[in-house]
Amino acid sequence: MSLALSSPAAQPSRTARLLRRLRGQHAFLVGAGLLVLIALLAVFAPLLAPHDPYLQNLAQRTIPPVWYAKGSWVHPLGTDQLGRDYLSRLLYGARISLLIGVSVVIIAGLIGTTMGLLAGYFGGRMDMAMTFIVTTRLSLPVILVALAVVAMVGGSLWIVILVLGLLKWDRFAVVMRSATQQVRSQDYVAAARAAGASTAHIVLREVLPNIAPQLIVVATLEAASAILLEAALSFLGLGVQPPLPSWGLMISEAKAYMFFSFWLIAIPGSALALLIFAINLTGDGLRDVISPDGRG
């Protein structure tokens, strides 16, 4: 019954209106389409991969992809310096990148959104404290701190996720703070307060759902940045460790062979660029629809 009340048939819901506006956005459609495709490839990697991504075959090292004269359909994207099938590694690598993007955004989003909600809703001392913490965090060079901490703790997929998650909450905090400040003075928040709702209820049930669109935009763009950071860390040897097929690590391992086998670098590099391109297009499209006047 409450469902029927909240979405009267005469007026299309907010989500439906947003979806209709998104359909007019060609860039968003291309980005989201690509993103869904990459996600499907990652999820179904075990079914799609022609070989075991970890299986080494020293007799078949650095076979070029199929479009070279020496290539063959047995290994469509060739093999790497240890004879592992490159297409299989690429598909499994997509899983690592997406896992990094999603997990880092969940950790950073929880920290940053909590801070932004508290600072924006309560203002005053709480706001000053948050401004100080965010300014401090922004002063630290992320990549350098992440490299140093990973080097001391020891690199692994989960360490990288944790370190990046604990470092990359700044944009969430800043955007959620200003969004909360705008929502706080709205009539429905005043109404809830007058009706005697608890602060926790107001923040979680009235404020949070109304700043969710901005949250999604930040999450999208921050996922791209987290994926790029993981790739850079792994490229420098202080991120995800071998034999995991992280795209950044694949580029790093192929560096010694770049003179004769540049495709070993070009393939994971292009895959990374394509994934970031897809995420950015999706995020920009969402932002244009949610706040057409620019920065969200």
Binding site: P141, A148, V153, A231, L238, G269, I276, F277, L281, G294
Partner: protein, 305 residues
């Protein structure tokens, strides 16, 4: 204005202090420094000797305070790997990184200002789409991958540029392009958006109605105002460039602070690590301080708020 500067200065000092604590404790709490120096499986006696030599047996807070005090006096300690004092090591590498930061910033501005202005003046034309393309590609390309592509093109295929080192200006060309292109998209988007906004303002219409030539209107009236937010972004992006220099300098073995940072991290040379993290953070604090004061001076409304 004075009150604003004093307040801003106080915040900068507090942030610098917090950053120094983070630079120290983040690295110290991430792992045991003595084991890092001696290597896994070192004997207990050796660990004890190392702890005594470096004063690691004292409480961590005491170590932090004595480190902070020495750092403030300009004594950055001794490098474990390079065996020289950290201050001379850092001072020797700093100019390379500052030079790289400056050339990359110039490169970014040289491509983003004309493209941003043209994209705004002829919005929705082919040049707008070209600018958008340049920005979108710049944002999507991982900078280390782009750097390797440059090496492939300019060093291996064309044989124009040296792959690594920092002895001549030729060694700076590829790092500058790789790092500059990494920060250019943000500038381009800001300049384009600013120009579009400014060009629709009343005073631009007046200037046009007065019969001033389009070039004067665009460059003397519009660009001057659209460039104001670029000042603030420059400070932020310079901080970004210093961080990015770790990756780029390592790829090209460009002998600056970024490469030193990478080396100190791989050798677990914690005195050097701590100082570089602190130094880059303090540079960022100073840059944002300068840009905030410059902005308050340019725009009196900020001072009141």
């Amino acid at each position: 204005m004075i009150a604003y500067i004093v307040k801003r200065l106080g915040l900068a000092l507090l942030v610098a202090l917090a950053v120094s604590a983070l630079a120290f404790f983040l690295i110290r709490l991430s792992g045991d420094v003595a084991t890092a120096i001696a290597g896994e499986g070192a004997r207990q006696e050796d660990l004890d000797i190392i702890r005594q030599t470096y004063g690691l047996d004292r409480p961590l807070v005491v170590q932090y305070l004595s480190w902070l005090w020495q750092t403030l006096r300009g004594d950055f300690g001794t490098s474990i790997y390079f065996k020289t004092d950290v201050s001379s090591l850092v001072l020797a590498k700093l100019p390379v990184t500052l030079l790289l930061g400056l050339t990359s910033l110039l490169f970014a501005l040289v491509i983003s200002i004309p493209l941003g202005v043209l994209a705004a003046v002829y919005s929705n034309s082919w040049i707008d789409r070209l600018a958008l393309g340049v920005a979108v590609v710049g944002q999507a390309l991982p900078n280390f991958f782009f750097a390797l592509c440059l090496v492939m093109l300019f060093s291996i295929t064309l044989r124009w540029l040296p792959v690594s080192g920092s002895s001549t200006w030729l060694h700076f060309v590829m790092p500058t392009i790789a790092l500059g292109y990494y920060v250019a998209p943000a500038f381009m988007r800001l300049i384009r958006a600013g120009m579009i906004e400014v060009l629709s303002a009343d005073y631009i219409r007046t200037a046009r109605a007065k019969g001033l030539p389009a070039r004067t209107v665009i460059f003397k009236h519009a660009l001057r105002n659209a460039v104001v937010p670029v000042v603030a972004l420059t400070a932020v992006q310079l901080g970004f460039l210093l961080g990015g220099s770790v990756v780029i300098e390592t790829i090209f073995a460009l002998d600056g602070l970024g490469y030193l940072a990478y080396q100190s991290i791989t050798y677990k040379d914690f005195p050097v690590m701590q100082v570089i993290v602190l130094l880059l953070s303090v540079i960022y604090v100073l840059l944002t301080l300068a840009s905030d004061i410059a902005n308050a001076w340019l725009d009196p409304r900020i001072r009141v708020a």
